[in-house]
C-alpha cells in the first residue's frame, strides 16, 4: 500500500464518498414507497386495535362495511381540521392531544383543569362522508379520572356508543361504566336540542315514555350516583362549546346540506 500525496488522498476520499452517497440515496429513494405503505398499515392496525377494544364500537366498524378509519387532528376552538399537524405523530408523542388551555372552575364541570387546543379524533368514513366520529373524552368521576371514547354518528348529534378505557371507580358500582349493558343505554340518544343546546344528561329515573326529554336522557347506574353524575358532566362538557361542540356543529351543518359530509 503506497503512501500517495494529499491530492490523491483527497480524490480517493471524494470518490468513495460519492459512490457511497449514491448507493445510500438510491436505496432510500427506491424503497420509500414500500416503507410508507408499511407505516400506513401500522397506523391502521393500531387504530383498529383501539376500536376493537371499545365494546359496541367494534360492531359499528363491522356494520360500516367497507368504511375505513382515518385519524384527524381537530382544533377544538373552531372544530376545523388542523391539516398541518400529523395525527399519528401527535398520538405517539403526547397521546393525541396538544396544548393546554386552563379552564376557569365555572366552565369546568368535568373537573379536568385544562383543555387541549388540538385533539386527534378517529373518523369512520364511507366515501367522503363521516359515518361515525370517535372522540376521546375524559373527566372526573367519583374516585378517579375516567377516560374513554364517545362515538357520534355522522349527523353530529346521535350517540353511537360510549366506552371507558381507563377509570378507578368503586368496583361493582361505579365500575359499571365499563359494562356493555350500561354502555348500550347510550346508543341512539341525541346530544342537542332544537336550538343546539346540549340536552344529553344522565338521570336517576327515566321520564315517562313519550316525554319530550326521552331522546336525550340516559338512566344512571344505580348505587353510583356520583359516578353517573361525573359521566353526565364530562359528556356534556366534551360535546359542549369548550369541547367538540364546534366540530360536531360542523358535522351537523355538513349533514344538513346533504351529500357533503366533510366539515372542513
Amino acid at each position: 500500500m503506497a503512501e500517495p500525496g494529499p491530492g490523491r488522498t483527497l480524490l480517493v476520499a471524494l470518490a468513495v464518498c460519492g459512490v457511497c452517497s449514491l448507493v445510500v440515496t438510491g436505496s432510500v429513494v427506491l424503497l420509500r414507497p414500500f416503507q410508507v405503505e408499511n407505516q400506513q398499515r401500522e397506523r391502521e392496525r393500531r387504530v383498529r386495535a383501539l376500536v376493537d377494544g371499545l365494546p359496541g364500537v367494534s360492531d359499528l366498524v363491522e356494520a360500516a362495511g367497507e368504511a375505513r378509519i382515518e385519524l384527524r387532528v381537530v382544533e377544538l376552538a373552531t372544530g376545523a381540521y388542523a391539516t398541518s399537524r400529523d395525527a399519528s405523530a401527535l398520538l405517539e408523542k403526547s397521546d393525541g392531544a396538544e396544548g393546554e388551555v386552563p379552564l376557569p372552575p365555572e366552565r369546568d364541570p368535568a373537573g379536568i383543569g385544562y383543555v387541549p387546543t388540538h385533539v386527534v379524533v378517529y373518523e369512520l368514513r364511507r366515501g367522503d362522508r363521516v359515518d361515525t366520529a370517535i372522540l376521546p373524552i375524559h373527566g372526573q368521576g367519583y374516585l378517579s379520572m375516567m377516560r374513554g371514547y364517545l362515538a357520534v354518528a355522522g349527523d353530529g348529534e346521535t350517540v353511537r356508543g360510549i366506552a371507558f378505557t381507563e377509570h378507578h371507580e368503586t368496583p361493582g358500582l361505579g365500575s359499571e361504566v365499563e359494562s356493555p349493558e350500561w354502555q348500550a343505554r347510550w346508543q341512539g340518544r341525541r346530544l342537542y336540542g332544537s336550538d343546539g343546546e346540549v340536552r344529553i344528561r344522565v338521570v336517576k329515573t327515566l321520564p315517562a315514555a313519550g316525554s319530550p326529554d326521552a331522546p336525550y336522557v340516559v338512566q344512571g347506574i344505580s348505587g353510583a350516583t356520583l359516578t353517573s353524575a361525573g359521566v353526565s358532566e364530562l359528556v356534556r362538557f366534551w360535546v359542549g362549546p369548550d369541547g367538540f361542540g364546534p366540530y360536531l356543529e360542523r358535522l351537523r351543518a355538513a349533514a344538513g346540506s346533504e351529500g357533503e359530509g366533510d366539515p372542513s
Binding site: 500500500m1 503512501e3 480517493v12 468513495v16 445510500v24 436505496s27 424503497l31 414500500f34
Partner: protein, 222 residues
C-alpha cells in the same frame, strides 16, 4: 497471499468464530437474542454487510491511502448498514421495529471493521468475500443458537410457534424468566465459549498474560 478456498469460508464457523474465539460483537448478541426470529434477521443483516464490506474494502485496498483507510472502511460499512436498514424497513417492517437501533449499530460491530482491517485489506476480492460470508455465518450461527435457547426456555416457543406449553396458557412448562433478560445471553455465551474451548483446547488463551507480553489487539472487543 492465500488462494480463496473453502477453508476461508469454514474456518470462522467454529475454529475462528468471531464471537466465541475473538469475543467480538457481544453487544448485539445480548440485545437481540431474546427471540429466534430477531436473532436470525440480525444474523442475515450482518452476513450481508460483512460479505459486501469485505469485498468492497478488498476492491479498494490498492487505491486507499493508509492515512485514511479506517475512515474509508467505516464509510463503506455505514453505507451498507444504511442500505440494510432501509431494506428491512421496506420488507420486514415488524421485525425491523423490534431490532430498532441495533441494525444501525452494526456499523460499530467490531466484527465488521475487524475483518476489514485484518483480512480484506491484505487479500483478494473473492477470498475477502468468502471470509466475510464465513464470519457472518459464524456470527449468525451463535446468535441463532443463543436466540433459540432463550426463546425456547424463556417463552416456550421457537419462531413464535409454541413448543413447550406454558403454565399461563394451561400447559405444564414454567418459563425461565431469567432467559428473557439480557444477562442470560452472557451466561449462554459463557457456556458456549467454555464448550468450544473444551473441545478445541488450542483456543484457550495463555494463562495470566503480562502487560509487556500482551499482544496488540486489532480492534477493541465490545
Amino acid at each position: 497471499m492465500s488462494e480463496p478456498t473453502l477453508r476461508t469460508l469454514t474456518r470462522p464457523l467454529v475454529d475462528e468464530n468471531p464471537i466465541t474465539l475473538q469475543i467480538l460483537g457481544i453487544c448485539s448478541a445480548l440485545a437481540i437474542t431474546r427471540r429466534l426470529d430477531t436473532a436470525l434477521l440480525m444474523g442475515l443483516s450482518v452476513i450481508f454487510v460483512l460479505t459486501l464490506s469485505n469485498a468492497s474494502i478488498s476492491l479498494l485496498r490498492r487505491q486507499v491511502p493508509r492515512s485514511i483507510r479506517l475512515i474509508v472502511q467505516i464509510t463503506v460499512i455505514a453505507s451498507l448498514v444504511t442500505v440494510v436498514d432501509q431494506l428491512l424497513q421496506a420488507f420486514a417492517w415488524e421485525l425491523s421495529r423490534q431490532l430498532s437501533i441495533f441494525v444501525g449499530l452494526i456499523i460499530t460491530n467490531c466484527v465488521v471493521l475487524g475483518r476489514g482491517e485484518s483480512f480484506a485489506l491484505s487479500h483478494g476480492v473473492r477470498a475477502s468475500a468468502l471470509d466475510g460470508l464465513g464470519n457472518g455465518l459464524g456470527y449468525a450461527g451463535v446468535l441463532a443458537l443463543v436466540g433459540g435457547v432463550r426463546e425456547l426456555l424463556g417463552s416456550g416457543s421457537l419462531l413464535g410457534v409454541t413448543i413447550l406449553d406454558r403454565v399461563d396458557a394451561g400447559g405444564w412448562y414454567q418459563p425461565a424468566a431469567l432467559l428473557l433478560l439480557p444477562p442470560s445471553a452472557f451466561f449462554l455465551l459463557g457456556f458456549l465459549v467454555w464448550g468450544v474451548r473444551a473441545l478445541r483446547p488450542e483456543q484457550v488463551e495463555a494463562p495470566e498474560p503480562r502487560p509487556e507480553a500482551a499482544q496488540t489487539a486489532v480492534a477493541g472487543g465490545r
